[in-house]
């Protein structure tokens, strides 16, 4: 029987080497793989290129900045608009200690989906006439301008769901699907942190959101409270 369950988050990330690209699911407090991130911190993986919707909004990704484990972030939201308290990431970015590539959120999601879906690239109207256009092909299709965007894959994806079965089928709660859903399809190796594991067959096939074939390892995480103090 297919069984992808591992015993703890440290075992789940045991073989992630330095200098890889890692996707992190989650949107602020919802669906962030916090226990896996903290395991990555404990393991001390370095030279990470991270892909996530956000960093430093209460999420624990900021913890990877404590010992400079991040080389670069690709994100849609990393610097607060208001001039308030700066995250560790923002401080290091402003000090030139970490790189940041800012990608529109919809383009980020679609590039990740494209990587998982075997699409070689696509045209989006998002970003035309903005700094996002720099270095990209612009094409007029049926009288409207679009930018060419390329797929964005990763070596690993760390994602968070609510429940998994032993085959890795996942279901979520509320707004926690967000980037977890496309990221599950777009990385070479996918590790899912969940609140609960059930036996294969206990999830209704009609309700499965991420099919198990996308998931390589499943682990129960500690429930970490996150709140964005905006």
């Amino acid at each position: 029987m297919i069984d992808k369950v591992v015993q703890n988050v440290d075992e789940a990330v045991r073989d992630i080497p330095d200098n890889v690209t890692i996707m992190f699911g989650g949107f602020v407090s919802a669906g962030s793989p916090t226990s896996l991130i903290l395991a990555l911190q404990r393991k001390g993986v370095r030279g990470i290129t991270g892909i996530a919707n956000n960093i430093g909004l209460g999420d624990r990704l900021d913890a990877l900045c404590e010992k400079h484990q991040l080389k670069k972030m690709i994100a849609s939201f990393a610097i607060r608009a208001s001039g308030g308290r700066q995250s560790l990431f923002e401080q290091q970015f402003r000090a030139g200690e970490v790189e940041l590539e800012v990608v529109p959120q919809g383009t980020l999601a679609e590039r990740i989906r494209a990587a998982g879906a075997g699409i070689g690239g696509f045209y989006t109207p998002t970003g035309v006439g903005t700094p996002v256009e720099d270095g990209k092909e612009r094409r007029t299709i049926d009288g409207r301008d679009y930018l060419f965007e390329q797929p964005l894959p990763a070596d690993y994806a760390l994602i968070k769901a609510w429940r998994a079965d032993r085959m890795g089928n996942l279901i979520y709660r509320g707004g926690s699907r967000n980037f977890n859903v496309p990221m599950a399809t777009a990385a070479g190796f996918v590790i899912a942190e969940v609140d609960e594991i059930v036996e294969t067959g206990d999830l209704d096939p009609e309700h499965v959101v991420t099919p198990g074939i996308y998931v390589d390892r499943v682990v129960v995480g500690a429930h970490e409270q996150i709140r964005w103090f905006a």
Binding site: L57, Q105, A109, T126, T130, Y172, G174, N178, A230
Partner: protein, 220 residues
């Protein structure tokens, strides 16, 4: 005496008047979030949060559940008829023109309806979030902002000086002083804040304003 404009709540209230029964609406961070507080009980608006929730309700003060949040990270209730989906599906919905109205904050708007709202060059960095996709994807874009900067400089300009969020995307600007429509010929002053004259508004607006024949104070 400085001109007395609308409060943030009143700007939100004025925008809420433009949201009608059955509309799908996305509210941006900050001021736009307040719009949800002013929807009449007889009007059924479906709020979309780009993090993957369609049909959320009010912001919750307690019982925080971190999986049920709007795009600003605030805990929200879920209305009957709601649904959840991933970010790829959410932005397919936004970019595909299935959101009727997007309300975004603004730093600058140009006479052609260009919007700049994600980067203050002096601060650097900048966060795009979902704004660029919402600006190009929503069928109608309403920008909610203060009419001038904290130092009194106009935000409604001939051309934006800040990096753009999107070109020719704004349909309506609602500020503490005015309601301004963007059409193919430029900006049209439709409504004024109570006690504020068209001349006073033009003086605080770099881009030229045309006046509608039936210019009237905002109904609040």
């Amino acid at each position: 005496m400085p001109i007395q404009g609308l409060t943030r709540d009143l700007i939100a209230l004025r925008i809420a008047r433009d949201l009608h029964d059955g509309m799908t609406v996305n509210l941006g961070l900050g001021l736009p979030t307040l719009v949800a507080n002013f929807i009449g009980s007889d009007v059924q608006v479906i709020f979309q949060a780009e993090n993957g929730i369609l049909g959320y309700g009010g912001v919750l003060e307690e019982d925080f559940d971190q999986d049920f949040i709007n795009a600003g990270g605030q805990p929200v209730s879920i209305n009957p008829g709601a649904s959840f989906f991933g970010s790829d599906a959410s932005f397919a919905m936004i970019r595909g023109g299935h959101v009727d109205v997007s309300v975004l904050g603004g730093l600058q708007v140009s006479a052609k309806g260009d919007l700049a709202n994600w980067l203050v060059p002096e601060r650097g960095g900048g966060s795009i979030g979902g704004a660029m996709d919402l600006a190009v994807g929503a069928r109608r874009l309403i920008v909610a902002m203060e009419h001038v900067t904290r130092t009194g400089e106009p935000r409604i300009l001939r051309r934006c000086t800040y990096p753009l969020t999107a070109q020719r995307c704004v349909d309506l600007i609602v500020t503490d002083l005015a309601v301004i429509e963007v059409d193919e010929n430029g900006l049209l002053l439709r409504e004024t804040a109570p006690g504020v004259s068209a001349a006073e508004i033009q003086a605080l607006t770099e881009a030229p304003l045309r006046l509608v024949p039936n210019l009237r104070p905002m109904s609040l």
